[in-house]
Point group: C2
Chain length 339, copies 2
DNA sequence: GAAATATATGTCGACGTTGTCATACGTCTG
DNA sequence: CAGACGTATGACAACGTCGACATATATTTC
């Protein structure tokens, strides 16, 4: 493999001078710089990161440790955000998935250590509370889309589920809906509670009574093997004599079944029932007809900001732990009509 | 940072002996081995990969270069397969996305070189033909879910779209369907042609005439900004006096709109129309009611086998270029009925 | 019992890079 | 013109690991 030494030989200078050129250090004549650059090009020299790393004990690498994130359709945008940031800032990303297994998590921390990772982004597929098995090692860590169990030990970045659900609820209320159905997310997800709270609070503030709301559980059970009641719940809800004029679905994926239930009962969307989702999981929200009005999880920005934040932590900037929150913007499409 | 030297000092042995213990080499007394292992545990020593790498000039790292794969919901299973293999075999994975830009692709190859990657997995989101910008560098490469333009230069692993579509078509024919609709995938995808060919050939072999088939284009245009005709096409198809009793959808995502179109026309699934998809993109195929019968893209195995194949190439085993194909198994659910 | 072999451990250098220090020349200052 | 400074380059060591080789016992073989 061509190294700095071969370049030096060809250019007729010392290793150190080549190093200087590579790193853009001052005190190199224009003329030698050119000679070295030509040699680099001719030989196709590329710096060896590993060698740099042992020399400088900085790897310029961040690790992503995820439950399923990189391997699951939902939150890939978080990874995209991180990678874009890394690309723009010359960092390398190492990614690993625990698959939910904690012995796997320990293995991954070891692997990260062995690569002398500068920092870790702890990412989860669903917004929830976790208890990361952060080894005895003190690698700077930022949590994305989750929050550490042990209160406020680490900085975290989360979506603002509450605000998203509040805006969505207001949106329906402002359009005249007074009977609203709600199909709940799996309760093990943080978003489930936050979204439902926002729904309850906002409808309450607007003067709706509990009897104006139909709230049903859509899913429950361990992630990946949950029981799905959405279709049945939506069907039952829409068969009530005094059926809701709008249904809020815990997320977009569940909205598929709400659509099917409504249509199978001969109801038109949105003329007979309005439907909103949550997440803006575009494979679904853009595939439904009419396209789904929903609140967009800020996944891409979660990744971007998370990487940025981790970088300041690593650089030694004092970053206070505790969670930062990013808003879920309402995406207006065609699944809601005004009454 | 704690290194082999500090371990050696604590254990009262030479560096080399520690190295022997770490690498499980023979010729170490049980007693010294234990002493060293205790020192490793006490100090929390973890081997430095970078140092290993400069020493051995093997990085034990594979790179994934993808168009959008890791950042797009569809083919994350390929990545999961690769990572599982890597995990089981002690390899590290470096992942990067071109986002479709070729200057980005060149940057990534450089980055891979600088990490002295042992091999590259070139992965695409959709099954198609590509012209990888493989630098002047000869890093062993395996293509996954795509095929190199310049004929047979590199080994590749692809899904058997033809077989999948053939099995799906047969499945419908065997259940008595004789009027079948087909909604075509975006023609820029390799799968589009293969699946349609299989559909035409299989129905033909079975004695159906061209007039028994309704074939409509579902999507076209550049990936990510395609025009979507699926809903309109399905609606039109199902309004024909002599409407098909079954519809094959180019993929699962498009099947959402076929479902909605059918239901909006008051047709029941599967009693009035049977529907099949392709891909087994489970976020969709399991969310639809009734659940969708489809052919599963072998993404996970594509990743697993691809990594395995790359490994043999790297290890110097003679691997003939050309494409290997993996079958798309039919997943029977409830969206088809027998006539 | 001498030679051959097997087992157990250590010394040293090299991988590719860069930080530290040294050197050499040229230009300025007083 | 001596000393101080600025610029341009090089020599060398060190980072952590492991391969090649050397050494030192213990055990076997004839």
């Amino acid at each position: 493999m061509v190294s700095i030494v071969s370049v030096a030989k060809v250019a007729g200078v010392s290793n150190k001078t080549v190093s200087r050129v590579i790193n853009g250090e001052p005190y190199v004549t224009e003329e030698t710089r050119e000679r070295v650059e030509r040699a680099i090009r001719d030989l196709g020299y590329v710096p060896n990161m590993a060698a740099r790393q042992i020399r400088s004990s900085r790897s310029n690498t961040f690790g992503i440790i995820a439950d399923y994130v990189s391997t699951t359709p939902y939150s890939v945008d978080i990874v995209r955000g991180i990678q874009d940031w890394a690309n723009a800032n010359g960092k390398t990303i190492l990614m690993a998935n625990t698959g939910g297994a904690s012995e796997q998590e320990i293995k991954i921390w070891k692997m990260f250590q062995s690569h002398r990772i500068d920092g870790v982004l702890y990412v989860t597929m669903y917004h929830h509370i976790v208890d990361p098995e952060i080894g005895d090692v003190a690698i700077p860590t930022v949590m994305i889309n989750c929050r550490p169990k042990t209160s406020e030990l680490l900085p975290s970045i989360e979506p603002d589920d509450y605000q998203g659900a509040r805006d969505l609820t207001r949106y329906l209320l402002e359009r005249g809906h007074r009977k609203i159905g709600y199909i709940r997310l799996n309760p093990i997800l943080l978003g489930a509670e936050l979204r439902l709270d926002a729904f309850r609070k906002t409808t309450g503030d607007f003067g709706l009574a509990e009897s104006d709301l139909s709230i049903r559980l859509g899913m429950e059970g361990p992630v990946g093997a949950e029981k799905n009641y959405v279709f049945a719940a939506a069907t039952e809800m829409l068969q009530q004599k005094d059926r809701p004029t709008a249904i809020m679905s815990g997320n977009d994926e569940m909205a598929i079944q709400v659509y099917i239930a409504a249509l199978a009962l001969g109801l038109r969307i949105p003329e007979d029932v309005s439907i909103v989702g949550f997440d803006d999981f575009r494979t679904v929200s853009l595939a439904l007809r009419p396209e789904l009005t929903t609140a967009a999880l800020p996944y891409y920005d979660l990744g971007l900001q998370g990487a940025e934040l981790l970088n300041s932590v690593v650089a030694g900037g004092e970053v206070c732990p505790g969670s930062r929150v990013m808003s879920c913007n309402l995406v207006e499409r065609l699944s809601v009509c005004s009454l």
